[in-house]
């Protein structure tokens, strides 16, 4: 049977070693099935590389290449250059975590985009270096606890802000860039399909909770991811050539505290009075996102409630109402 006719590709097949509730495993499984079989994946070092390949074992049913941490985008550039002029060129896709995107991989990513390679770069953002044991990254949000941004007598967690990566990406004026979330599969699906319908450099930033690093229940990953969107902390937007062209409207913005209280990495903010100030800072950041992207009044086809109610492929489906979240 031609692999393209299969009911489900299972590009990332079962038996891998991700933690239960791993947002990155969920996201990668969703994304790579949508990509189809005619791809070559280049993976940065990180959890996804570690839990999917082990000795001679591999969970990948598509061609997959890992080199080192910093260079995934540049390796992909080489793979893509090799495809040019071929009869049936494979599409090139990069997968990296936030360390491999925001920090150590940023230079190679910028080069990939600047040179206009035909490649899709996917960042699975779990907001810290999880593979090495939860150290802060440029993506770690303000006030979050990591092993290298610990709360203490003189600290309320990470003192800096989460890097505004999308603004950096937007400054490259590339054909397509979008944020997505494991909690909004239909939206994620539409964005992957849109990205794959275009050529040139494209970027997908997918919010992927880490139960281990964020210290929440494994079963709560989707709920946490949903609240990140619904609070305005992680807006779902689309950019074309640097301009915002799509926004997921918030049906009813939720208070940031609701999101923070689910996660142990913010627990210290609720133990002492001085934490309350950081909670206000985080709420202000969410409010700024809401204003910046017009998350309350954007003229979009669906909002967070409608997107959450979309039946999944007509089989079972999922329905989420505010009652489910409390």
């Amino acid at each position: 049977m031609d692999r393209r006719d299969a009911f489900r590709l299972n590009a990332l097949t079962s038996g891998h070693r991700a933690c239960s509730g791993c947002g990155q495993a969920m996201a990668a499984r969703m994304v790579t099935d949508l990509l189809g079989p005619d791809v070559i994946i280049v993976n940065a070092t990180g959890c996804l590389q570690v839990f999917t390949t082990h000795n001679a074992q591999s969970a990948w049913q598509v061609p997959w290449l890992h080199s080192v941490f910093a260079n995934a985008a540049a390796v992909a550039a080489g793979v893509e250059a090799a495809q040019r002029g071929r009869e049936r060129p494979a599409r090139v896709v990069v997968q990296a975590g936030d360390g491999g995107t925001f920090d150590i991989g940023l230079q190679c990513l910028s080069g990939l985009i600047e040179r206009g390679h035909d490649a899709l770069f996917i960042c699975y953002d779990n907001e810290a270096y999880m593979n090495t044991g939860v150290q802060r990254s440029g993506s770690t949000p303000h006030a979050a606890r990591t092993t290298t941004s610990p709360p203490g007598r003189l600290s309320e967690g990470k003192s800096q802000l989460k890097k505004d990566l999308l603004a950096i990406i937007a400054a490259h004026h590339m054909p397509y860039a979008a944020t997505a979330s494991v909690a909004f599969f239909p939206d994620l699906k539409a964005k992957v399909e849109k990205a794959m319908s275009l050529s040139g450099p494209r970027f997908l930033h997918i919010f992927s909770p880490c139960p281990l690093g964020w210290d929440h229940e494994a079963a709560a990953s989707v709920q946490v991811a949903r609240l990140a969107v619904e609070t305005g902390l992680f807006p779902l937007v689309e950019l074309e050539y640097g301009a915002v062209t799509g926004v997921m409207r918030l049906a009813q913005p939720r208070p940031v505290e609701e999101y923070l209280r689910l996660q142990g990495r913010f627990k210290h903010l609720f133990r002492e009075p001085r934490g309350a100030e950081e909670v206000r800072h985080l709420q202000a950041l969410a409010d700024a996102n809401i204003r910046r992207y017009g998350l309350r009044d954007a003229p979009t086809t669906w909002d967070t409630d409608e997107a959450g109610r979309v039946q999944r492929g007509g089989r079972g489906g999922y329905v989420t109402t505010p009652e489910h979240l409390s």
Binding site: S58, L65, S67, A70, N71, A74, G78, E80, A81, A90
Partner: protein, 404 residues
């Protein structure tokens, strides 16, 4: 066809003749003329290849890694700081057993920053798992580059062709450039069996563990050992087809009856040959041996070539600071292991572009001849008596801000 041509341009012509499909480049002196010439060839349509101008040497090495993993013949070049910035990826290319070919235009490594020639850069990467070939002339640089693709693709190992910066890269000399049909006959189209292909998905670069990593490294070592044969074969077939030879693993000069042999690497051999001629004219039985291949280390051939000598000196353009010469240490180890008890004197010179003149080389021969039973450990050729240590900071004549 013979042409008066700069070394870098000659190498670019050789690259073109090997029909690379992907070229990755990042500028660094003294490598730049090679990739500039390649860019012009692509711009003029004389070379059909994807030319990727990367944002760093780390990316350039990564681009050729990706291209070769996807089945394309690829080329890059670098030197000095650039080569060291590539280091992580160069180890990775070798571990993945990818047949990448690159040129190193040998240059000193800072600090203090210095753009001129020595071989500290590539010798610092001798443990990276690459085949390393060092050339003496621009003709040899051209011929070795063509051989390098054949060796790399036959062995599934990367090859670094090292040529001295400026002394070769920026020097115009007469070079016989082969024609395309000859090169095509010598070098078959690239076929990489482990090419990433959606029709036959495979995983390349997955994790390993204590229970198999050791065996991967062992296999890598064995592959390099086996490559000795392929390097010799490539040189012999090249000589058959093109009528030129530069040695294979070694290149010896007047060693057959030599009592004292000077071992060196790279372009310094040209002046060494002249000094050997002059000393022989005075009746001294001296010879010279050039290591063309440093990795894999040609232990057996080296022992064979040196075992008749009464004294050996090694003159090299790099140092393992805190130990002494790098190559001298390896030569001593090879001879010792083979039970050949010949004293080996160590000379480090030519660093950072200091000329190794015929007089300097004659002084090396003389010092080695005059030394007693104990070998000279590490002598710095032509070094000032009182070197500055550490490098002095530039004096600030006018303070930027007045006293507060």
């Amino acid at each position: 066809m013979k042409r008066q041509i700069e070394g870098s341009q000659a190498v670019a012509e050789a690259v073109r003749l090997c029909r690379p499909q992907v070229i990755a480049a990042y500028p660094i002196t003294p490598q730049t003329h090679i990739v500039e010439r390649l860019a012009q060839m692509v711009a003029d349509g004389d070379l059909v290849a994807e030319y990727v101008s990367t944002e760093s040497e780390l990316a350039a090495a990564s681009v050729v890694l990706g291209a070769v993993a996807a089945g394309a013949r690829a080329y890059t070049a670098s030197a000095s700081q650039g080569l060291l910035l590539m280091t992580e990826v160069l180890f990775n290319i070798a571990g993945l057993r990818l047949p990448v070919v690159m040129t190193c235009a040998n240059r000193a490594v800072g600090a203090p920053i210095n753009i001129f020639n020595d071989q500290q850069d590539s010798l610092s990467l001798r443990d990276a798992g690459w085949i390393q070939l060092y050339v003496e002339s621009n003709q040899e640089a051209v011929d070795t580059l063509i051989q390098a693709y054949r060796i790399a693709e036959a062995c599934e190992l990367p090859v670094m062709v090292c040529m001295d910066g400026f002394y070769l890269t920026h020097t115009v000399e007469s070079v016989d450039l082969p024609d395309q049909a000859q090169v095509d006959a010598y070098l078959p189209p690239m076929h990489f069996a482990r090419t990433l292909d959606p029709a036959a998905p495979s995983t390349l670069g997955g994790g390993s563990e204590p229970d198999n990593y050791l065996e991967y490294r062992q296999a890598h070592h064995r592959a390099l050992e086996r490559a000795l044969v392929e390097i010799e074969t490539a040189a012999m077939s090249f000589a058959d087809l093109f009528g030129r030879a530069h040695g294979a693993l070694l290149d010896s000069y007047c060693t057959e009856d030599a009592e004292r042999i000077l071992v060196t690497v790279g372009s310094a051999m040209g002046a060494v040959r002249d000094v050997v001629d002059a000393l022989r004219a005075r009746g001294e039985r001296v010879g010279a041996l050039r290591l063309r291949c440093l990795r894999p280390f040609p232990t057996a051939a080296l022992v064979q070539a040196l075992q008749g000598a009464r004294r050996v000196a090694v003159l090299e353009k790099a140092i393992s600071v805190g130990l002494g010469g790098i190559i001298v240490t390896e030569v001593r180890a090879a001879l010792h292991h083979a039970g050949v008890r010949v004293p080996v004197d160590g000379f480090v010179g030519g660093l950072g572009g200091r000329d190794l003149t015929p007089d300097s080389i004659a002084a090396v021969f003389a010092a080695s001849a005059a030394a007693g039973a104990a070998p000279i450990d590490c002598c710095f050729v032509d070094a000032a008596e009182d070197p500055p240590s550490p490098p002095p900071a530039s004096p600030v004549k006018e303070p930027l801000h007045g006293p507060s």
